[in-house]
Every structure is written in structure tokens, then in C-alpha cells.
Symmetry: C2
Subunit: 294 residues, 2 copies
Amino acid sequence: MTSTHMTETKPELNHSSLHALAADTGWQRQGKLWSDLKELCDLLRVQVVTSVSDEEFLFQHVQFKTGQRIHTIGQAFDTLYIVHSGFLKTVLIDEFGNEQVLSFPMKGDLFGVDGIHTRRYASEAVALSNCDLILLPFKKFTALGRTHVELEHAMYSVMSRELVREQAMVSMLGALSAEARVARFLVSLSERFADMGYSSKLFNLRMTRHEIGSYLGLTLETVSRTLSAFNEIGLITVDQRSIGIRDIEALRTLRRLPPSSSRSKQAGKKLREAAAVQAASRESKTEFDQVVAI
Amino acid sequence: MTSTHMTETKPELNHSSLHALAADTGWQRQGKLWSDLKELCDLLRVQVVTSVSDEEFLFQHVQFKTGQRIHTIGQAFDTLYIVHSGFLKTVLIDEFGNEQVLSFPMKGDLFGVDGIHTRRYASEAVALSNCDLILLPFKKFTALGRTHVELEHAMYSVMSRELVREQAMVSMLGALSAEARVARFLVSLSERFADMGYSSKLFNLRMTRHEIGSYLGLTLETVSRTLSAFNEIGLITVDQRSIGIRDIEALRTLRRLPPSSSRSKQAGKKLREAAAVQAASRESKTEFDQVVAI
DNA sequence: CGCGAGATTGACTCGGGTCAATAGTAGTGG
DNA sequence: CCACTACTATTGACCCGAGTCAATCTCGCG
């Protein structure tokens, strides 16, 4: 249970075991303990007209180790979480025990929102690395929102942003080819790393091929194969979890081969080949001079 | 522009033409004109501890005709919409003009939420039938939320619900086969019609095969074929836009043939066949004694 | 009555899922 | 320290579900 890699034996949604686990964590108080409103809003990338930095309103941090569950499906909801550092995944578990990865929250991301409506979390959140999370008791937060108008708006804003993200996800799953999905996934990861201050060109994946596949609606084999293909074409460099981005533009513009409901009949295959050629022509111009993330 | 079927010629995101159109509508004032808070919450299926029915806070209705656009992508956001009656679709338009249907709002649904974050609508909403919508000016609404706590919570709740819905969508697109998607689509439609007071057994689709396909991440041919297959198996009755549900349980439990990241290796094909058999055995027990919707 | 949009069907193709074998990696324990 | 074990990743062979292309049919409307 305390090993650093994910070996926890899927506890069958056992709530008591979860709580035991949380208790086990013991609200350790190393590292940063509290955050104020401003820090919180900065993290959420929400522009707040710097309200008086109320020192009275502080939010506690909690640490989770790799593999630990932050919350499970069905567990009573009462707090939202903001990632201060670390990487997680949120998953849905369908009626037959199959996991479906919904998101990979990282620094600045909010999660737990799906619990508001039914007052129970609709998904499960698991730490993919050691994490430092900010607790955001929902009651306390809404109460605050009433006195700090801009905070309330921030909340709406973040939820709206999350909704737009999901829409983009739906759109991607509905319309893009496997290659395009993987390409975009890499691009978005790269961008996230960039604005977290890490290298956007060389980084380590925090999740398995299986998790990536689940997130993208593909099998792990397809993910692996696609990464290998990108590698051969020269778009990226792959070695296990380590990814080097060699041609982000090619990845970004890599469109769907004639996928789903396409009406504008532009031979998609040609686009792919074009992208490949385009990539090959740039192959030698990028270099790897940046620091590896983490 | 005022014809009752959808012939509007994709106006290339021309905002001025949109506004002209809205002006054209002329905020017609037939039918119900205003709704109070309680009515609004009832519609949203949010339990509100019946706040004093403030007659001062009323929300205006607007009518749209089939094919009219309620808002377009990029248009400045300032109001949310609640469907009082009628059917719509919301679509995303990707970088090459392809539509992707995101939802089919109907009675009691809220839309426009995706505009909160960037202050511009991220999607486009189009009426699939004549519609009666309730306008919900966002500013006014949040202001109200500050004095009526339960209203604020209702807003969070509805947004959270919407998020969960999107998650379910992602999950479906990522994990289910074409047949399962169509089956679930029919089930959810049936349920929606049921709690709108229409028949859950016999109803008319308000959207084309193409739109259904776009929504489900399939081609219109696959949708058509799948409906035909369900028809032959005896799960449903199809005639153009008219759908008769004959075995909702079979549709509900129709699982994915071995789709994506399946680890529990249960021969999916057998499940399908089982469902078919199951369906056949029930074939004669359902009857069509209910009133057709609309 | 003819036109155009939508729906249905068939034939063909191929992207990506399935199954399976192999290899690289890391944590565990003797 | 090294073998043992459990994941994780990579690759290949095979095949089927669903996309593509295209012909035909229906229906509502001008």
C-alpha cells in the first residue's frame, strides 16, 4: 500500500478501505501547508482582481503518495481538489469493472466537480505520482463566494472551462483517427509541461500506454504502435516513458485520415502522407537542449 | 430562412447575419412570456426549497423557428438558455467546417454554459423544431444567486450534472460499439420523452441520421444500418423518423462487442447474440398503446 | 411533376482491435 | 548481489467492425 508504484489491488470500491487509506496518509504536514485565496486563483489560472488577501481564509494542503486513491466513486462529496504539484488520473468504472480514464489532472487543475450534483463523486481519482493537493471544502467555498464576488465567478469560469474541455474531448473521440488523437495528446501534454515551467520538448509520461489508450479511446497496442510510427517518421523520440518532441507543428496539424462523419471529401490519406513528408523535411532542425522535466 | 425545415445555408460564422436573423425573429411574444424562479427550477429538475416566489424576478421567453440559430461560435456571451419546449442541437465546428453535434437540448435542458469561461460561446445552437426558450441573463442570474443561496447551488448543480453527462458521453465514445451507442441513444431519448410526458414507446426523431451519427461518432450509414438491424431483430420499429421501442431492456443491456481497452475477456460477440435472442423471445409481449409524441 | 434532402442498402476497403510472443524494468526477497 | 516476479512496452499476424463510395428509394415541397 505504500510502495511507490501502482500495485494497489483494486479494492472493489470498498469505502471503508478507502477511508482507512486516507487515515493512513495521516494528513502529513510536510511541505507547504496552506494556501490563501490569491495563490489559489493563480493556480487555477483565473484572473482575480486581487481581493484583499484575506489571511483568515486559508486552504489546507494534503499529500498523497503514488497509487493512493483521493476519492472513489460513490463516496460522499464534500470537497473539491486543486493540484498544487504531482500527477493524477480520474477514472470512471463501468458496470463491468472496466476503467475509463477521464482526465490527467496536473498542476493547476481542479477536480471533484462531478460530485456536486449528486453529492457523491461520480469518478475516482488516483495519484500517478506523489502529489500535493489543496483541499477546497465546497460549503466553505460557496460561502466565500457570496462575499467575494470575483471568486464566485472564478468558480463558474473554471467549471465552464472544464465543460469546454470535455466537449473538445468528445469532439476528438468522435472525429479523429488514432494517430491524430495520439498526436494531439502529445501536443497538449507538451503545452501543459511548458506552462508548468518544465521542458516542452523532452518529458516523461506519468501514465502507462494502457491509461493513455483508455483516455483516448484506443488500445494500448495502438498507442504503442502509433508512438513507434511517430518515432520512425521523426516526429518524436520515444524510449519507454520518455518522450522527445521533434516536430510539434507536424503533430499539431496532423489531421484525421478520413474518419467519421466527414462530408468535405478531402483525401485524408494524402494529408497523413503530407504530414509525414513535412515532418521528414524538418527532421534535422530541432535540437534537444532543454532540461528534462522532473 | 423561415421555412420549417432546415435549409439555412451554413452562414460561415457570419455574426452580422446572425444578428440580422435574431432581429428578424423580433422577440415575438406569443405563448408564455415570462417564468418565475420556481417554474425555472422545476424545469431544471432542481429541488429548490421553494423560495418566496419573488414576482419581481421574472425571466423572459423567446421563440425560435425551426432552423434558426440561437447563438454561434465566437458570439459574445451574456445569457444562458433553458428549453421550455422544442428541440435543438448544439454543434462544434472544427477547423475545416465539419460539424460535430454535442447535444440535443430539449425541455428542461440548460445550454450556453460553455460561454462563461471565455465570455464567448464555444458552440453553436440551432433549433430543430419551433422552440420556446427562457432567457437567463448571466449577470442578473449570478446577482440573484447571491441573495437566494439555493439558486446559486442549483446553478452549480446543473453545471455539475452537465459535466457528468459529458463524461458519460466520453466514456461511451471511448468504449462502446456502434450498436451499443445507437441502442443507448434510443434508450436515453425514450427516457427523456417519458419524463416530458410523451410516450416512451413511440416517438419521432427530431434529427437526421447524419446528426445522430455526428453525435455518436458514427457515419449516417452506420446509424441507418444499425436501426435497420434493430428493426429486423425486433428490438424496435423504424419508419423514417418514427421510432417504436419494442424491447427497451434489450436495448439498455446491449453491451459492446469486444470494443476498446477491454481486459475482462468475455466474448463480446456472444453477448450481442444473446441480446438478440433475448430480444426475439420478448418480441411479442410489447404493445403500442401509447400516444405518439408531438 | 420534378427537384432535392434524407434514408436505405450493397459492395468493398482498411484502420485499428484481438491474440500472442518477446523483451525491457523495477521492486522483492533470499 | 542477483535471480524471481510482476508489470509494462513493443511487434507481428490476423481479422472484423465500421467507414467509404455509390446506386436507389421515399417523401415533402415548389
